[in-house]
């Protein structure tokens, strides 16, 4: 069971190509990070994988089947998408937002029943927001909103959850909480997590696999210790990184600064 991008290319109208023959594979289980500079094509790649955008060339395969041949409803039962932080126009409660994740399991005229409410309740408990379930989604913190959208994705009962920068705009505590929640889902829940991020260190800390994009091309693909390294990041971000390691062997990448050069 896997989601595969096979030589996917994409360009917006009248634009330069955003993705050029991008190939990757992610399994249902585990966490894949997509790293890359602003404009390197991370969000576009996620949108193609989610079926929001159709590639100009190449194809997305979901469990061996072309994504373009899957109905929107079937797609939404298999792949969940958590957009970047957003605020809806209406003050739906956390519960109401999460329950919307049941839409792909309900016929056009049906409303959520007991089974759907159970799924929503379980997802809200998984992300630890049960206490806030009746709060307006518009009045909770950014971190809590992120967890709400993750819960909505889980309520969809998907095998793959795609997230556009789930660690953006969050304080370190919420980043850690969000990332450990996702990592646990990846390891225990048979859900494949694919997340774009601007935090290479989060890839080192939580991910099983990292894909580094440089202007629409995959420049590295593999376990974080081999891909999130200065040589590759320097190329991806156009700046110099250095790898630091603690006594216990934990690693992090940091930018090279004047003080580190003179040291």
């Amino acid at each position: 069971m896997s989601i595969v991008a096979d030589h996917v290319s994409f360009s917006y109208r009248h634009g330069r190509p955003v993705l050029q023959a991008v190939s990757l594979e992610a399994h249902d289980g585990g966490m894949t990070f997509i790293l890359g500079a602003n404009g390197s094509g991370k969000t576009t790649l996620l949108s193609c994988l989610a079926g929001i955008l159709a590639p100009d060339a190449g194809m997305i395969l979901i469990d061996g089947q072309p994504l373009s041949a899957v109905t929107p409803r079937m797609r939404a039962q298999t792949i969940g998408f958590v957009p970047q932080l957003h605020t809806p126009v209406f003050a739906y409660t956390v519960w109401e937002v999460v329950l919307m994740g049941r839409a792909p399991h309900l016929s056009l005229l049906a409303r959520p029943g007991q089974r759907d409410r159970n799924a929503a309740a379980q997802a809200i408990r998984t992300v630890g927001l049960w206490r806030l379930r009746d709060c307006p989604y518009t009045e909770i913190s950014g971190g809590e909103r992120r967890l709400t959208l993750i819960a909505r994705g889980l309520t969809q009962g998907v095998r793959y959850l795609l997230l556009d920068e789930p660690d953006a705009h969050l304080d370190p505590a919420y980043q850690h909480r969000t990332m450990t929640t996702l990592a646990e889902l990846g390891h225990t829940g048979d859900v494949g997590i694919i997340a774009s991020s601007h935090q290479p260190n989060n890839a080192l800390l939580y991910a099983d696999q990292a894909i580094v994009l440089g202007t629409g091309r995959v420049i590295a693909h593999g376990p974080p210790p081999t891909t999130v390294v200065p040589a590759i990041l320097n190329n991806a971000y156009g700046m110099e990184f250095e790898l630091i390691a603690s006594a216990t062997g934990r690693r992090a990448v940091v930018p090279v600064t004047r003080s580190s050069k003179t040291a």
């Binding site: 949108s47 605020t87 809806p88 209406f90 409303r111």
Partner: protein, 334 residues
């Protein structure tokens, strides 16, 4: 907003209130006979004239008010959600302007009430068709639909202006003006069956899909990742919603703000979840128009046009009642 545990009680209460209001409305009017006497006389059948007035004049008019109020409330709620805009009402897509032009044309050529209703409906549907055609062709984004609606509206307003300009200022022009102010004066069973039929089908449709309307309030891409065929669903909701409005204005003429304010009031009561908002808008819309029409036909010796009454009474009432709610917690909006 009403707490969750009280919702069933409140829903039942509102519905009961609506039925009581509707039945009571049968026994008030300009026929010179007291309310309680009217009831006893009607049930004893002692006054055939009163019985005829109640069954042939008041009953159809009350049913029409209920249908039209419900239609405007429900379509207003669905459109406000779909366009994510608190200023939207059932007129956003140019249907009312189409209807106004159609009616003015029929009045200009001195057609009877059925002709006026038919032409109003026909041109309302033409306006809707234009908006749907443009939407279908250019991707049905919210922006495309709103701009198409405004343009179609402007076009039919220009045509209406043309008819008014050439109309006989002594007979035809006042008739057109009066029609534009809205009234249920002409509501007889003979002209109401299309309204009843369309309302039954359209309102049932909205009651069935009401929860799914929530998904239309999300971003297009987000709705798609939840398995919704966004464009198709949007066009269907617009189609059925405008059909409800078209059937309504064809009978009543233009009644402005009901489709705008009723959803706001309903949202303040039950919150933004369309599974509750749509039934609430239905009941509240029906009750609002019923009360307004009762006032319209009883307050003065001659009838007060509904559009005027709606603005004069309804707007201040809702201003004072709901501005407080809007200030306190946004009335369901962000």
């Amino acid at each position: 907003m009403i707490p969750a545990k009280n919702r069933h009680v409140v829903a039942g209460g509102l519905l009961a209130l609506l039925v009581v209001l509707a039945v009571a409305s049968l026994f008030i009017g300009r026929f010179r006979i007291g309310f309680t006497t009217a009831i006893t006389t009607f049930f004893s059948g002692a006054n055939p004239l009163l019985t005829a007035v109640i069954l042939r004049i008041r009953l159809p008019r009350i049913l029409a008010a209920l249908c039209i109020g419900a239609n405007l409330g429900v379509s207003g709620a669905a459109f406000q959600g779909m366009f994510r805009n608190p200023l939207v009402d059932s007129r956003i897509l140019g249907v009312s302007s189409g209807a106004a032009f159609g009616a003015s044309l029929a009045l200009f050529f001195a057609r009877g009430p059925l002709g006026v209703e038919g032409m109003a409906f026909l041109f309302a549907i033409a306006a809707m068709g234009l908006v749907l055609f443009v939407g279908e062709r250019f991707g049905a984004s919210i922006l495309v639909l709103v701009v198409a609606g405004v343009l179609v509206s402007a076009f039919f307003n220009a045509l209406l202006g043309l008819v008014k300009y050439v109309a006989d200022p002594l007979n035809t022009l006042p008739a057109i003006t009066y029609w534009l102010l809205g009234s249920l004066n002409g509501a007889r069973f003979a002209v109401l069956w299309p309204l009843f039929g369309i309302s039954a089908v359209g309102l049932t449709f909205f009651l069935l899909i009401r929860w799914r309307v929530n998904l239309l309030t999300l971003d297009t891409a987000e709705g798609a990742t939840l398995g919704l065929a966004v464009k198709r669903f949007r066009l269907v909701v617009i189609g059925v919603g405008t059909l409800l409005v078209a059937a309504s204005v064809a009978v009543s003429g233009i009644i402005g703000w009901v489709g705008l304010i009723v959803p706001h009031a309903a949202r303040a009561l039950v919150g933004p979840d369309h599974a509750r908002l749509i039934p609430a808008s239905l009941v509240l819309g029906a009750a609002t128009l019923l009360v307004l029409d009762d006032i319209s036909r009883t307050a003065l010796t001659s009838e007060i046009p509904l559009g005027i009454l709606a603005g004069l009474i309804g707007v201040p009432v809702f201003l004072f009642l709901f501005m407080r709610v809007l200030r306190a917690h946004g009335g369901g909006w962000r």
